[in-house]
Amino acid sequence: MTSVDKAIHWDPYNPAYFNNPHPVFTRLREEAPVYYNEEYDFYTISRYEDVQAGLADYRTFSSSRGDILEFIKANNPVPPGVFIMMDPPVHTAYRSPLTRFFTPKRVASLEPQIRDFCAKSLDPLIESGEFNFIENLGKEMPMRVIGMLLGVPEEDLKTVQSDADAKLTTEAGKPMDLTEHTFVGAGFEDYIDWRMKNPSDDGMTEMLNLEFKDETGAVRKLTRDEVVIICSMLGAAGNETTNRLIGWTGKVLAEHPDQRRQIYENRALIPQAIEEILRYEPPGPSVARYVAKDVELHGVKIPEGSSVCMLVAAANRDGRKFANPNKFDIQRERLPHLTFGQGFHACLGNALARIEGRIALDEVLNRFPDWEVDLDNAYLTSTSTVRGWETLPAYTSKAKRRPGGKKAAQAAPQANTPAPIPGAESWKLTMKTPMGPQEMTAHLVRKGDALTGRLDSPQGSESISHGKISGNTLTWTVSVTKPAPMQLGFEVQINDNALAGHAKLGAFGKADIVGERISS
């Protein structure tokens, strides 16, 4: 019998899962196909069959309150035009006229410009021996392409992009703050007002002039506010997600140099390689839906009014659908992954994302047949909407790489570890995080009931603050930046040469700690 399993824990905000959510996704999919998270009050489904069926069943799993958990919970009114947050027939009325901007035919016609944007970004870096998949390509090319498509002038692109990024990025460990969230992107209003008076042959003019049948059956043009909102939504979607796809392309292919070589030698493999990257590490690992009527799945009742998180990333690795699901294999049998969703809400820009991803890879390979990623200086974030690299440096010339490659790079922080603090007692700690045990060393200095010192971990050395001693109990906090900026709150009990306790990871989640004294 399957029931709501409390032993497994997952939420999209917990940084412990950012680096590698796949082990917990596997557990959810195999042990708790309907998982309920009490803390944030949402359900999760993760099997391919369930996610696929759920995406198609909009009458049960509604988009009317949004496709992000925080939006569904907030239940703010959805402004006209935000078709991502609507069900048919209103959704259809808005989306249908917009498909023309994103048809495979139309986006294919952009190929020369997309190649040109890649060349402009990459050519200056050929001699340098290094480039950053995100800074130099992922943040540049998709932004220029969506800008060109909509008709946003070059000088305004960065404003639109940072606006979109700020909306979709959350503080690590926390849900999105909706109090400051607006649907409307600043920067677009002025431009659209100007464009209304100065029509051109760009997408925005076309959007302002197109006629469509709205949900009441009336044939009309989009209002100025609707165009603002639609452009803002398309701009955000066009920037953020393809950027992540480009990052994952850099990361995953660096880890699979044999397959990268095959692609380099036979570019006809690029489309299937991009599909496999999309399956393996989807830029949007989950989508959420509002439960519009009671539904039962695997013996679990999901009541009307609940929120459901559909784990696309887990479904994409469901062994019931994909053989050897955790293996990255560009030659695998081509079956539909769920990264772009399915049904009415399937990604409007899927053809654009695909062509951008394919061209980006082709143009990278034209200049850099191989590369190594510098994960020590890379930074990964994950929110309830996207998961991917914020920065991903890569070395394209052998000379730039550190001797011994990644191994040496990992060992490097050890050499920089500061010397032990005089008079400190040192403890070897093992923190049992959901990603496996993490080892660290605490150097603690007692002064009355105050505690100072330092915590050394593979991520670096950080000072201890708010340290207190109360009998055998020691408490302190450490602020860390990796794997994500957060505060760790420690509380341990000392018993001679052993200690035990826990650390709070950011605002959410706890990890048990055990430790032994290595010096006093």
Binding site: T99, R100, T103, P104, P336, N350, A351
Partner: protein, 106 residues
């Protein structure tokens, strides 16, 4: 095994022996019939496995569902007899089916 004939826009014909239960798109791909991109791999979400079905086959195949109708908006040169081949499941009744391919999927 039902036989299916694909006719390219230039008139070239490909007759294949199809497997029941598979989709027309999958069979075209399995037999290297050119002209079907099928980017999404059969998820009814990309509109690049567009074919024209001869009217006499319509009753056997049935009408496209709501998702297919929506996704057909991505396809090029859509006509009344346009279908997405990933959504046509092959049955014994479809023996002799003829589908025509558009000049391009994009």
């Amino acid at each position: 095994m039902p036989k299916i004939t694909f006719i390219e826009s230039d008139g070239r014909e490909h007759e294949i022996e199809a497997q029941t239960g598979a989709s027309v798109m999958e069979m075209a791909r399995a037999h290297n019939v050119p002209g079907l991109d099928a980017d999404c791999g059969g998820g009814c979400s990309c509109g690049t496995c567009h074919v024209y079905v001869r009217p006499e086959w319509r009753t056997h195949i049935g009408e496209p569902n709501e998702f297919e109708v929506a996704t057909l908006e991505f396809a090029v040169d859509v006509e009344a007899n346009s279908r997405l081949s990933c959504q046509i499941k092959i049955t014994d009744q479809l023996d002799g089916l003829v589908v025509t391919l558009p000049a391009s999927q994009r």
